[in-house]
């Protein structure tokens, strides 16, 4: 996003599916419900849409099938795959397409049904990448992503003295926020002791260090500022954006920072905003450690100090510190299709519009940040960061 693209697009529609378990839905149905929901929120119709952004899990021929089903005719279409980072990245990519004049009304959609057996089978059927193919005879079998993130937490503990208690404060904050979200999958208030007493999944991460698994989805409508002005609806202007990937670096592994560092630098540079100006942040929270490292990598606290930061301040906006994931986040509210990026942007839009839960609304929230990460931070992964500004 060059200078000329700064502010080139506005999010005018945002919709989070209220469902958390959807046994009778199909994937296209969920896409329809969230896209129609986001268009209704914006005051637009399917006829207005000329840009379409879905992920690689869309069924059949992906975007071809979905656009036929929905009745969309688009000038620009994408079905990229950056895992949970996809939807945050798409906000920037849609803004770039709008700035280039390729489209004026872009829809970004996410739908996932992990409770359906067919979804789990499809994930296992994918052709492995070269690293996985090489390691596939036993280095890395038999465990989910929790163990990878556990290694990240272990190294952080080793380097910086971070503790399980400190990580637990991140879950506590999410549970405080979830009290105000009637749609949240989990709504019980949680203590540090509760987290530490929950079963160990992959040491040092407990069950309560992990996000929920939910069906559902969400959608965003990103438009040219001229379209936004005509709609007269509050929204979120895209000020800056960055993407970055990181991997095992040819064997020179360093687990003490993630691709968020580079993606954040790009997003802050293009927006001309600094971390201290951000009033609300949606930080990807697949696991507690994911949030802690994002705080450091994005400059909300200093490197290595994430543990002490969350222990001292929490993430509920205490002591003038930034509130994080006021919807309850992936740890409590929703992590549809095992991908959290979409809900991260949606809660930013709520805050910038003044439509967050009353008790958690940041007064006159003008600047917000959403950060998404995809795949496994302990190995190859992707990050995307957007800086958003109140638009009215």
């Amino acid at each position: 996003m060059t200078g000329s693209m700064k502010g080139s697009a506005v999010i005018v529609g945002a919709y989070e599916h209220p469902g958390r378990t959807l046994p009778h839905h199909t994937l296209p149905q969920v896409h329809r419900e969230v896209i129609f929901g986001a268009l209704a929120d914006a005051g637009l119709t399917i006829d207005d849409v000329d840009g379409f952004f879905c992920d690689s899990t869309a069924p059949g021929y992906g975007p071809m099938d979905l656009m036929e089903y929905l009745g969309i005719r688009a000038n620009v279409t994408a079905s990229s795959e950056f895992g949970g980072a996809t939807y945050v990245a798409y906000v920037g990519q849609a803004a770039a397409a709008i700035a280039a004049g390729t489209c004026r009304v872009a829809v970004i959609t996410l739908a996932g049904l992990p409770s359906h057996a067919a979804t789990a089978r499809a994930a296992l059927d994918t052709e492995p990448g070269p690293a996985t193919a090489f390691e596939g005879n036993g280095f890395r079998g038999g465990y989910g992503p929790v163990a990878d993130y556990a290694m990240l937490a272990r190294r952080h503990m080793h380097e910086f003295g971070t503790t399980s208690e400190q990580l637990a404060w991140i879950k506590v904050a999410a549970s405080v926020h979830a009290q105000h979200n009637p749609n949240a999958k989990l709504r019980d208030l949680v203590s540090v002791e509760d987290v530490l007493a929950s079963p160990m999944v992959a040491d040092p991460l407990h069950r309560m260090d992990c996000c929920v698994i939910t069906d559902g989805g969400g959608a965003l409508v990103v438009v040219h500022p001229d379209v936004a002005r005509n709609l007269g609806r509050k929204g979120a202007r895209v000020l800056g954006y960055g993407e970055a990937q990181r991997n095992s670096l040819q064997g020179k592994v360093d687990l003490t920072y993630t691709a968020n560092r580079r993606a954040g630098e790009l997003a802050f540079a293009t927006s001309g905003v600094t971390p201290t100006q951000i009033q609300y942040a949606s930080l990807y929270d697949s696991f507690t450690i994911t949030v802690l490292m994002a705080l450091e990598d994005l400059g909300f606290c200093r490197r290595g100090e994430g543990g002490r930061y969350v222990e001292n301040y929490g993430l509920t906006g205490k002591d003038g510190k930034i509130p994080v994931n006021t919807d309850g986040g992936g740890l409590m509210n929703n992590h549809p299709g095992n991908r959290g990026g979409m809900t991260k942007v949606i809660e930013c839009v709520r805050q910038l519009r003044g439509e967050a839960a009353a008790a958690l609304q940041v007064p006159d929230c003008e600047l917000a940040l959403a950060a998404g990460t995809g795949f496994r931070l302990a190995a190859r992964h992707y990050s995307s960061v957007v800086v958003l500004e109140q638009f009215s």
Binding site: G136, N137, G138, Y143, A150, M151, R155, Q250, V253
Partner: protein, 145 residues
């Protein structure tokens, strides 16, 4: 053997992708030897094996025998698993940094929970399960060495 002891004998999966670019690794592994891909241009190792150097694009890459010595960079004791691994929980996954300077993901076995720590010296060996290719794993390095 206590409940906090992590034994060898972890599962393997049949049929890792073996191609001309990785064949020499597997040939050596069947002899019980660990070889590492080395770029003659950069004069440095890289991981995982492939037929070119991912730093400098050079195809002038070869294989060098590894001492197999390393230390734990990070680890996790995995309590929840699926497939063939269910019967082996808890087990240890780890990143091990070899003396040659590369870090790879693996399992550490024949180790007690009390002994596990970042920095623990470990030594490479290959586990063989019937019919499957050998799997690179690590165990604590005997202190006498």
């Amino acid at each position: 053997m206590s409940a906090s002891y992590f034994s060898a004998g972890l599962p393997s999966a049949p049929g890792p992708a073996i191609d001309p670019e990785t064949e020499e690794y597997w040939t050596a592994a069947r002899r019980g030897e660990l070889v590492l891909p080395y770029c003659e241009q950069c004069q440095d190792y890289f991981w995982y094996p492939r037929g070119f150097c991912p730093r400098c694009m050079s195809a002038n890459v070869g294989w060098r025998p590894s001492t197999g010595a390393g230390e734990i960079y990070a680890y996790s004791i995995v309590h929840r698993a699926f497939g063939a691994w269910v019967d082996h929980t808890p087990f240890v996954i780890a990143y091990v940094t070899l003396a040659e300077g590369i870090t790879l993901s693996t399992n550490v076995v024949e180790v007690d929970a009390d002994e596990l720590r970042v920095g623990l010296p470990v030594i490479a060996f290959f586990e063989h399960n019937d019919g499957d290719e050998p799997v690179l794993r690590f165990q604590p390095k005997p202190v006498t060495e």
